[in-house]
Symmetry: C2
Subunit: 152 residues, 2 copies
């Protein structure tokens, strides 16, 4: 997951994504936790040990110069992210439903607008043991190390 | 607004802010657009040309190592931020009510979960011409240049 330019097929339908010469852009929220001009994709392009997650990259996939990326992840009922560790930090903001995070040996709940800071090298997984989708923003450094799997 | 350590009086009431040795922290949303353990403060410590804004620093004020900061700003009815420019980018996410942004000569609306990317050097101001508070997350690089005022 290093920083790399991606040629995305969701590059600016002009009606929905307003982009100016200065680099300003606006992604309108279209309801149902979707943003106009932003495609939902796979959580990861490779590897196992995860289930039922979709990813929308809101900021970071289109040549933005900010030193961070903003993504929206949604975990369906019963789904979970990889149990992994890395040097870079996560900031998670609960947006839809509720879910849980395993941080090393600790379990915590995440609900609407709760803010969770996952520090460097923490063994972590986000998961959804509930019946409704669990959606959250996740902010990360633009330049970041590759996650490494952790044994359960 | 350079990166600097701040000794904040809102440093971790342990009952509300869960902090582990790994640096993990959780700020519970307490309703009414307030987070437990996070104080609301002034938008800026100096300068004029703004009115009716409060700031909560969610991530960035307590020695976090991430390369970005997360703040929540709330502009009361009739309030506005400084009209200014700087090299660093902003990512704004509408959370409460609705508001407007002036980006160079363009005006745009910001509503719930709309995502706005304000590129480097854009002349910008956020403001609230409506009757209800306008609240938004604002993500910035941790290391950033000082804003410079722009004439209207």
């Amino acid at each position: 997951m290093g920083k790399k330019a991606r040629s995305s097929s969701c590059e600016v339908p002009v009606k929905t994504v307003k982009k100016s010469r200065s680099g300003n852009r606006q992604y309108r929220y279209g309801g149902d936790f979707k943003w106009r001009g932003v495609k939902s994709g796979r959580y990861k392009s490779e590897g196992g040990d995860w289930a039922g997650i979709a990813r929308q990259v809101l900021i970071g996939d289109r040549g933005e110069t900010a030193e961070f990326h903003l993504r929206y992840f949604e975990i369906e009922a019963g789904g979970y992210s990889s149990f992994e560790k890395h040097k870079h930090e996560h900031v998670v903001i609960g947006v839809r439903g509720r879910g849980k995070a395993k941080l090393n040996r600790r379990i915590t709940d995440i609900q609407f607008l709760d803010v969770l800071y996952i520090g460097a090298h923490t063994h972590h997984r986000l998961y959804n043991p509930f019946q409704e989708p669990f959606g959250f923003f996740c902010i990360v450094n633009a330049r970041r190390d590759r996650p490494r799997p952790v044994k359960k």
